[in-house]
Amino acid sequence: MAILGKQIDFMKHAKLFGFVSITAVLISIGSLVFNSLQFGLDFTAGTLVEVGYSQPVAISEVSEKLRAGGYEDAQAVAFGSDQDVLIRLPVDDSVTEEEMAGTLVSLGNDILAALSQGSSAQLTLNRLEFVGPRVGEELAESGGMGLLVALGIVMIYVAVRFQSKFAVAAVIALFHDVIITLGIFSITGMEFDLTVLAALLAIIGYSINDTIVVFDRIRENFRVMRKGTPYELINLSLSQTLSRTIITAGTTQLVVCAMLFMGGESIQGFATALTLGIVIGTYSSIYIASSLLLYLKVTKEDLMVPVREGAQDSMP
């Protein structure tokens, strides 16, 4: 084998992409601060009614009937097809949580009655959900905690298995992925519900997986190669793992896109977040995690741990 093998000079563009990432993160944070997120029912509390029509219906007509029926605050949106309508009612402050849940069934029937007024279509109540304000608040709290705990655990694991510079680089890359994905949800106004939160955690899982594969190669090359500067060795490792990176991102993206296009309306947010996350996560393994290693001045000495690699890894 040639001394450093065939390689692509990834790190040449490290500064440029670093700048792009910082800009994207700043824009995302800005949007999160000023626009916030379009939180779904899971977080905001309130009532959600999904109504199925036997024939296509115009949203404007639905909204009009809701207003006529006395539901001024109700928001109607099309859900997947022009025969399904999603109606959202905010929490009524004058009604307690208990009373609200107690009257839910009749509320659903009342809305159905208001909508079928003067309509020839057959209406069915597909879904009726109520989330109390406290539940939503706690969910947001535990969701945020979950993200932080996941990041913390990943950081500890990487610090133990690799080295602290790798841990810092990996976690910054994960923050980058999460913030930009959230930023895109904030800018586009896509709904952020419980499944999107799950997707976000899955993205962390995917992105760290990708980063670890690259790190693993970097570690190996730093230990094995006698020659080469860290700059060269990182480029070499990225080049060696590039085909795997692309193929794995590709196959995962294949199934996620199948979800996105065939999975139906209720999984849209989840699939969209994953699609975005896989792209961002793949990119960040190269241009955030690996560039940061270079920036943190990782050296061969950092990885000179006398681990009996051969004995440990000779499975299977």
Partner: protein, 616 residues
Amino acid sequence: MLNKYPLWKNLLIVFVVLLAAVYSAPNLYPDDPAVQVSHESQDINEFELGTITDALRAADVDYFGDTLEGRSALVRFHNLEDQLRGKTVIEQTLGAGYFTALNLAPTTPGWLQAINAGKMSLGLDLQGGVHFLMEVDMDAALQRRMENNVSTIRQLLRSERIRSRALSLESANLIVARFDDESARSQARALVRDNFADLQPVNREQDGSYILELSLSEADILQLQRDTIAANKTTILNRVDSLGVAEPVVQQQGASRIVVELPGVQDTAQAKRILQRIATLQFHLEAQPGSPSTSYTTYEYQGQLIDVSNDVILQGDRVSNVRSALDQQGLPQVVINLDAQGGEQFSRVTRDNIGKLMDIVLSETKTRSTFEPGDNGEMVEHQETYEEKRLISHAVIRAALGREFVITGLSTTEANELSLLIRSGALAAPMYFVEERTLGPSLGAENIKQGTQAVYLGFGLVLIFMVFYYRLFGLLANIALAVNVLLLIAIMSIISATLTLPGIFGIVLIVGMAVDANVLIFTRIREELSNGLSPQGAIKAGFDNAFSTIVDANLTTLLVGIVLFSIGTGPVKGFAVTLMIGIATSMFTAILVTRALVNLVYGGRNVKELSIGKFA
């Protein structure tokens, strides 16, 4: 010889795959739509089943496989339409007190059932149903416990002849007793210490009176909350059983909430009426003639007005069992069992009050529905909640009562009714709904359809790509991937995990990510080949070198899965379970199964070339 697995390793893999095939098999047998019929207090018998089938025949509804199962009856139908019609017919035939529930009856062959092979249950988002989140009122539970303590302390002080100026519950967790002198207070303090290990005493002086403050410690309050939620969960389980739902979920969530999921149930109003029969039970003595009017409440009982003292001598949560039975003379009676503390407390109180009347008060929070004509002429249901307190028993204490005592002088019906009432009132604390979701069955069917389509498409695309890119090795990886899905389904069926929509997509995501391990191995093999290694050497080096990478990468993802599982609720948890199992199975298949297949094809012979696609 190079790249050959020992026989035992191959046999182990074959064994695991066979086992997985057997345990995932039940998922191939679709459930029959069925209607389950039960009664709120008694078992369904042959005669009632006959009435049901007669009515179904008369209404021309196709059915089959009508059986009695445990306490309820089950009738199967050929399709969902017949099932709905059948349910209506059955409901109209049977009167009040019966519950009919849409259900799914398994069709798994007996030998599979015999080895405990079941199928994954479908989540609410896949089959429709109702989801409730109920909050247990912990403040009320604490308050009740402390009220109980106040009554007992009052009794104790009286029997020990310690004079107190006042004794009351100031706040939910604070009992304040006032005494005229210090010695009375220290006597009282010793008395409390001997009888209540959990009450923390604090002395205080104010306006010349000696005050003893008693409260529960944080740890004791936590213990109380744990006990309370456990009691409530049990009661809910019993009530849900009476609804006759196929696979109800009753789970604790957090410190004070209970999740109830009733798949297949569409009549939320009925389900809520049953769950919401929040009832609490209290034992009182009859008020002494001439007591101040604030110290008793008047109830009507069998046409008489009875003054019941407000002091509680025993709370319903001390009742451990209730049943109606016949005594030696064949007369109906209600037998009540108390727990240890309850029994001790009860014997102390009743000993001093033989010949007096004991009253049992049941308070129930109920929901009532009224039907009014709506705008479009249809009858619209309205619901309201109200509290109903009533005296359910008024009986003379004949002797000092212990942990087991009986109430006699009732008719059979009265005895049955009373035992049912007491049982329902033994619930420890009131609950209310904080979240409710109803999902229609058509939505569930749609979700399943779209979900499986997406799975097939995604899976198909990945298979095609792998063969295209890695040739024979790709094909071997595909076999391993199929084994992976088989294992995943087998494990999920064994732990009877609930399959939710996000769960299905967890499987899809696993399929996408599972090939990663094989991709890592195969790119490594290609690399070793281009480094000039022999085919056999490249296979070995490829698998060996990729191993630590695969372990590291998957372990971190597994850690994220664990976090997801521990913070998540409902659908997120389902997703996390799938993710974690998938990571484990994909490591097994990608490393062991693929290697075994590769060894089978190439191992132990002279190979000139590997069919692994072109390498750069």
